[in-house]
Symmetry: C2
Subunit: 338 residues, 2 copies
């Protein structure tokens, strides 16, 4: 099949690789209808994560079941499915406790930017749509593979509830989906920290009531002012850097909550500040499967449209250009069509 591969920092190719195959009777193979590039794919692209030379890349996709293993009961070839980027059996103790991203049989989509993807624990992982969806729904369904549930997770982890004031640190696709999540949950003030006009526009479309373009101390002061000097009830940290975490904790009121979903790179948690302000901290890899039924309903009913985060669509063969566009912040998120 044709698939995106990474060879070295900055070296993304589309080439012929072996088709994924059923390895365990609980596996399924999905023919990818749409895949995409994730902000976290930029970590190896920028040389900040180790790279296995020539490996396929891409963990987000939706598509049509092509083949299932002998023990797969709930899916058959032809089913249209959303593929959560982390696969889970949805039955183990971790899954029952809502931590599907720590499933004992955890798997991960590894060729979402290709023509086919293998899904382990297909029955536990996949979620079916009601028939083949309208083309117009494709971007929003694809967003359910990772960014929307991840933004949602940030809001859940931060404890967002109706009437809250919320800040979202990070204006990538996940941060924007965090704005959307806070809005659905009924937050009253939603402050998007963004200095990038197209992203500000999406944040507003998703429900942001305020935009703060400043960063660091100036940004924190602006957030404090919007919240009458008190700080926000909940902060969503959607970047993963120490600066972003420092801002998120710094603008949260005493007894508030910080939800963090940016993969931590160089983050040092200030235990004394957390202690003195009694700020709660929770986050991690989103348990996508846990949220999928609810989010799928929100998308198919037209209540949310997270697909707006895709501002560039390219054929799979132009995947390297997609990486460049995201790396240079010319695109928020790139959708790839095989």
């Amino acid at each position: 099949m044709r698939a995106t591969t990474i060879h070295a920092p900055g070296d993304i190719r589309v080439e012929e690789v072996p088709d994924p195959v059923i390895k365990k009777p609980t596996d399924a193979i999905v023919k990818v209808t749409a895949g995409c590039i994730c902000g976290s794919d930029l970590w190896p692209y920028r040389g900040e994560n180790p790279i296995r030379r020539g490996s396929t890349i891409g963990h987000e996709c939706i598509g049509v079941v092509e083949e299932v293993g002998a023990e797969v009961r709930d899916f058959k070839p032809g089913d249209f499915v959303v593929v959560p980027f982390c696969h889970c059996d949805n039955t183990c103790a971790s899954c029952r406790n809502g931590a599907q991203s720590a499933c004992v049989n955890l798997g991960m989509t590894s060729s979402g930017q290709g023509e086919y993807a293998r899904v382990v624990e297909a029955d536990g992982s996949l979620v079916k749509t009601d028939g083949v969806p309208d083309e117009a729904l494709v971007p929003s369904l694809l967003a359910l593979s990772d960014v929307m549930p991840t933004g949602w997770h940030a809001a859940v982890a931060a404890g967002v509830k109706a009437g809250d004031s919320v800040v979202v640190v990070g204006d990538g696709a996940v941060g924007l989906c965090g704005v959307l999540a806070a809005s659905v949950m009924g937050a009253e003030k939603i402050i998007a920290m963004s200095r990038h006009e197209p992203r500000q526009a999406i944040a507003k479309a998703f429900g942001a009531t305020h935009v703060v373009a400043e960063r660091g101390k100036e940004g924190a002061a602006a957030v404090k002012e919007i919240t009458d000097g008190i700080g926000v009830d909940a902060a969503l940290e959607c970047v993963g850097t120490n600066d972003a975490m420092t801002t998120a904790i710094g603008v949260t009121r005493a007894n508030g909550g910080v939800g963090f979903v940016g993969v931590p790179h160089g983050v040092e948690l200030p235990v004394r500040t957390l202690f003195e302000k009694n700020i709660g901290l929770r986050g991690g890899i989103a348990p996508v499967r846990r949220y999928l039924p609810e989010l799928l309903e929100l998308v198919t009913s037209g209540r949310i449209d997270p697909g707006k985060v895709f501002d560039l669509t390219l054929p799979l063969e132009e995947s390297p250009e997609g990486y460049r566009a995201m790396d240079e912040r010319r695109a928020i998120k790139v959708l790839l069509r095989p």
Copy 2:
């Protein structure tokens, strides 16, 4: 008045100091019926916190209102009161958000191991008992000044709920009160980590279903075994050292919660582990006033008896011996009678 003072590490004295006086119209002066020594008083005693030479020490007490400032409305001389160690107006934004320990008018009892104590924001801070309590209730009422609400806060912060499995790291008075809190909240398995027989006995009396005497990796392995290899739903960190925090986080299941109330000394939070396991972390100085009405009712109704943590009662003049007894772990917690 006579009061306990600290002059240097290990140098505790009882001497004549000026009586505390009303400085602001919202102040009250309380004649101390009973005070006590806190585990956290051992930090300066052991030279691990700075000391202001000759200053009074002791932040826990109960007693009788002696005098009130002109603006105090709800208390009058003769009222018997529980004095939360952190004073608060109970009306500011932090207090309204349940963070009374981050009140904008925060104060602290500073001569609880003396004959009189000044309380700032008396109306917001103090809680009255129904008349002068029976002598038998004195220890449990005194425990409401700090240790019981602090153990309770650890359980609240960890998210303990009915049916949970809970571990308590730390067998000091706060840890033991954490066991009691988890029990009241309906936890099903309560694992007390303690190697000290008298403390184990109190833990069991307070509701511990299991005792683990091992520490470090062996201790963690024992807790995992009790929880079928999964880990606890909630961990209460009631020490403040890095070892205690490491144990608490290490034995918590994916998507579980850690509540920490030990004042952090050298704690480094493992952000990657928290992220990978989606473990929630929350804690800090207990907002005592928030919990006092509920806890006072539990004490006066006889439902809980946190006063059991006092295993040595001394006259105020023997305060230095009280410090030695706690430092050498001959006593769990020392009650002082002026």
